[in-house]
């Protein structure tokens, strides 16, 4: 991949996270490989249930057990395998070297805690600061995030702030300790479009100045386009396509990606009707021997039903899990 020469920060190998439910084993993440370089911004795209959030939670080792459990794979972060660490060592990493931002900002803040204390608590925990210096530091970070009147924001309770403001507070908490990796799980999905844009801008600017890597999961293709240099598309617990963001939007090489792009409004195709994808993703409890996208795929052949296409480099820097990636590439042009 293009990041091979850059310093590798995170490498996920064969990650498998399963949920053991009454209805059977749900393979939410079933063999995901990727790597992330220092300071890189990687987007993880997919519809609900594709496994992108579970991938994010698995890296943090915050998958709720029971019912979820990481059943296989390795997560190498700064050279050490996170899955081999004990709980105390993992706790020291969370919030200091790798931190997380969530979808619903107001719900992810303690309702009876002033937001200044919330930010300060992480600093007290990982930097060993006292309450006073931690609050001063919280104020400095809010200024860095260009929050208006930060002196008043630190004294506010979450319910007194808007959703965008709460998300800024969560971002401040996440970056307070200058972690090496920030995982943003649908961080902008609950916000309206203008706020979304300004939050994304803040996030990208910050990761650039601090040299922090960003793993952004989202169902929104446009968010990825705005914020990420590289993108991975997930479907039914596996990565189906991985490449530089520009390449993905110009010439996708997997029929699922093409379907996703066709169902998103774009300026280039004004006047043309949106093409929604037919069918539904398979149930996570289903065990399919072949390609998970088979039932919805316009390019399917009998081979796809019995044999699973591996994720392979079909062109330099372009990875696709489709036997007919080249045909898929031509298909997009035919449609556009």
């Amino acid at each position: 991949m293009s990041t091979a020469e850059a310093v590798e920060l995170l490498r996920v190998e064969g990650l498998r996270t399963h949920f053991f439910t009454r209805h059977g084993v749900a393979k939410a993440v079933d063999g995901v490989d990727f790597s992330l370089a220092k300071g890189e911004r990687l987007g993880l795209v997919g519809e609900s249930g594709s496994g992108k959030s579970v991938t994010a939670l698995s890296i943090m080792r915050l998958v709720r057990d029971p019912p979820g459990r990481i059943v296989g794979g390795r997560i190498l972060f700064e050279g050490q395998d996170l899955l081999a660490l004990d709980e105390a060592a993992m706790r020291r990493l969370r919030g200091s070297r790798l931190s997380m931002i969530f979808q619903d900002p107001i719900a992810y803040l303690d309702p009876v805690m002033r937001v200044g204390d919330w930010i300060a608590e992480t600093l007290m925990l990982h930097r060993g600061l006292g309450r006073k210096p931690a609050l001063t530091e919280a104020l400095r970070i809010l200024r860095l995030l260009k929050v208006p009147s930060p002196e008043e924001v630190v004294h506010a309770y979450p319910f007194q702030l808007s959703g965008g403001m709460c998300q800024r507070v969560l971002i401040a908490t996440a970056i307070a300790t200058e972690p090496a990796l920030v995982i943003a799980d649908e961080a902008t999905s609950a916000l309206d479009v203008t706020v979304q844009a300004s939050i994304l801008k803040t996030l990208t600017e910050l990761t650039e100045t601090l040299g922090t890597a960003l793993l952004l999961t989202t169902h929104n293709m446009l968010v990825v386009r705005k914020a990420c240099s590289r993108v991975m598309v997930m479907y039914a617990g596996r990565v189906v396509e991985s490449c530089a963001t520009d390449n993905l939007f110009q010439a996708p090489l997997h029929p699922y990606t093409i379907g996703l792009l066709n169902s998103v409004p774009a300026l280039e195709s004004i006047g043309q009707p949106l093409v929604p994808m037919a069918g539904e993703p398979p149930l996570p409890t289903d065990t399919l021997p072949g390609c998970a996208f088979y039932a919805r795929c316009p390019l399917r052949q009998s081979r796809c039903q019995v044999e699973r296409p591996p994720l392979q480099e079909v062109r330099p820097g372009r990875w696709s899990a489709c036997f007919f990636a080249e045909q898929a590439g031509r298909m997009r042009h035919a449609a556009g």
């Binding site: 943090m60 915050l62 105390a88 706790r91 020291r92 990493l93 969370r94 919030g95 200091s96 931190s99 997380m100 969530f102 619903d104 719900a107 992810y108 803040l109 303690d110 309702p111 009876v112 805690m113 608590e121 992480t122 925990l125 990982h126 260009k146 929050v147 208006p148 009147s149 008043e152 924001v153 004294h155 506010a156 309770y157 319910f159 007194q160 702030l161 808007s162 959703g163 965008g164 403001m165 969560l170 908490t173 309206d192 203008t194 706020v195 300004s198 801008k201 803040t202």
Partner: protein, 290 residues
């Protein structure tokens, strides 16, 4: 980012007790009543016209408004007003102390059982079920039979009786809190279970638990008076409202004031605590402070 249109101006929360009083009428009414009784109890040595156990055989059963006896006298000629003032002390102690102690214990046990779960949950909650099975009156009888009757032992048995409901209320709240997003966020920030219990779980379960405790204060006044009425609480000749009702029982048809005045006092104090309890519930919720 010159313009950030989504940011609403932040109102810095200010603690304004008087504004609260005028907004929440029940707090005003409740605290006025409770404050009156507290003052009565505190100032009893100064304000009461007689010693509470001073007997005046010639003035037995004087009616309300007799000269020298504003609220009359009981069948031993003791001043009713004096005894009501002194009796407020035990009623207040019974209402406040067992509740506070059991609330603290219940918060700790409920938070541990609810958040940590597993073995601690089984041990604590099943243990509570056992104590729950004891009828409060029977427990009070057992305690006074073994340790002897009296105010301290009465409060002890009340504390034991109150711990299970307090623990259960906290437990229920904590089980709900545990699933909340901000607890997950705290875990994602690297907090340990005990740090989360202290920083997130306890502060968030405080309001509902205290509200529940406050709502029980009125019932405790009535219950404590009941125990003293049947003779297991405050012992004669010490003044207590429940005890005084019992004293007046035999002359209820002829001189009703001996029983009804302490009864009225119990009613008023219980109502005061109930008003206050309702108000406290609203007050402790930060969302209501606006």
């Amino acid at each position: 980012m010159a313009v950030t249109p989504e940011i609403a101006p932040v109102e810095r929360p200010v603690w304004r007790p008087w504004a609260l009083m005028t907004r929440h009428k029940s707090i005003a009414a409740g605290s006025a009543i409770v404050l009156l009784v507290v003052l009565m109890a505190l100032l009893a040595p100064v304000l009461s016209p007689y010693d509470p156990n001073e007997v005046h055989p010639l003035d037995r059963l004087k009616p309300i408004g007799s000269p020298g006896y504003l609220l009359g006298a009981d069948q031993q000629g003791r001043d009713m007003l004096t005894r009501l003032m002194w009796g407020a002390r035990s009623s207040l102690a019974i209402a406040v102390l067992p509740l506070s102690i059991s609330a603290i214990i219940g918060l700790a046990l409920g938070a541990i059982a609810g958040y940590l779960g597993r073995l601690s949950e089984t041990l604590i909650m099943r243990g509570m079920d056992v104590v729950f099975g004891l009828p409060p009156i029977l427990l009070a009888i057992a305690v006074s039979a073994t340790l002897g009757p009296g105010l301290v032992n009465l409060m002890l048995s009340l504390t034991i009786v109150l711990i299970p409901p307090m623990t259960r209320v906290t437990y229920q709240v904590v089980v709900g809190l545990k699933e909340q997003a901000f607890v997950e966020a705290a875990r994602a920030a690297g907090a340990s279970s005990f740090q989360i219990i202290f920083s997130q779980i306890l502060p968030n379960s405080l309001a509902p638990t205290i509200a529940y405790a406050a709502s029980l204060a009125g019932a405790m006044v009535v219950f404590g008076a009941g125990i003293s009425f049947i003779g297991l609480g405050i012992q004669p000749p010490d003044p207590d409202w429940g005890r005084m009702i019992n004293d007046g029982r035999e002359v209820l048809d002829l001189k009703p004031h001996v029983s009804t005045l302490p009864g009225l006092a119990i009613f008023v104090l219980a109502a005061g605590f109930n008003f206050l309890g309702d108000g406290v519930r609203d007050l402790l919720d930060p969302r209501m402070r606006q």
